[in-house]
Symmetry: C2
Subunit: 137 residues, 2 copies
DNA sequence: ATAGACTCTGTAGTTAGTACAGGTACAAGA
DNA sequence: TCTTGTACCTGTACTAACTACAGAGTCTAT
């Protein structure tokens, strides 16, 4: 009954297809030691276990949520040792939330400024442009 | 009466101090041809004219507002040729505003998701963490 | 004259990947 | 069995926008 197609060991291309991750990115994550070195066939082709697949999904999910590689490294190392508390994880999460808020605020300030100066624009055909003036100020 | 101190030709360090721009960044902008090659003393030290100073300020202001180097290059090339209309400038500005809005939206989605999963956290001392569960899903 | 600050050049490192080139391995069809 | 076309292997170079350094030359103030 259950579909076993995503429960089998996979080669790199198949893992990429399954997760939506770029082929080269998988190798990159191994190089920077986010992904553990997978088993290999005798000829050297990588074989990804189910736990490798879960780990990649975890990484990709964190990236979607804006965690940096180093933040993910911290999360993974807590999980890998098994010596983590929910408390520690939540601290990292809240730190990340703070930096997201800061980015949003910075972008909103830019947006506000640009909207203001853009509204002054006459949209004319002459080189007399209040935007350029504002940017030069 | 008027302070002429920021109206004199300057060397690189002085220009950096005056504008708040990093010393090396000025050289970088020259290398990538955002800044025009300045005059030199006989021994090769760069001497920045008043118009060089204005150009750098323009670049820095655009960077503050989130324009990419290539966007600034477009703006500057319009201004440099003199063949620009307010209309063209405003088009570039509105394109940039669109990309800012998109970034804000993306960050807000991350924020929302992270807040939700963070709130489920018991902050306990055990490795039983709903954040990790959510990230693994 | 000389010490210390400034400037010059080229190069390497940063983040988070992406894209090749040149060479094997594998799987399917004739 | 042979062949052909993918898929995979490795290392390296490229992206954006800087920043930092090493080693050499120059300028300035005492």
């Amino acid at each position: 009954m259950t579909d076993q197609s995503n429960q089998k060991p996979l080669k790199r291309g198949a893992l990429a297809n399954l997760t939506g991750c770029n082929l080269e990115t998988i190798r990159y994550y191994e190089k920077i030691k986010l992904m553990l070195p997978p088993d290999r066939t005798t000829s050297g082709h990588r074989i990804y276990s189910i736990s490798d697949q879960s780990r990649l999904r975890f990484i990709l999910r964190c990236r979607e949520l804006g965690f940096s590689i180093e933040e993910i490294r911290s999360l993974l190392s807590l999980v890998d040792t098994g010596n983590y508390s929910c408390n520690e994880i939540n601290t990292l999460t809240r730190l990340h939330l703070t930096s997201i808020s800061k980015k949003i605020n910075d972008l909103k300030k830019m947006q506000q400024t640009l909207q203001t100066i853009s509204q002054e624009c006459s949209n004319g055909d002459t080189p007399d442009c209040p935007i350029i003036d504002a940017l030069s100020a």
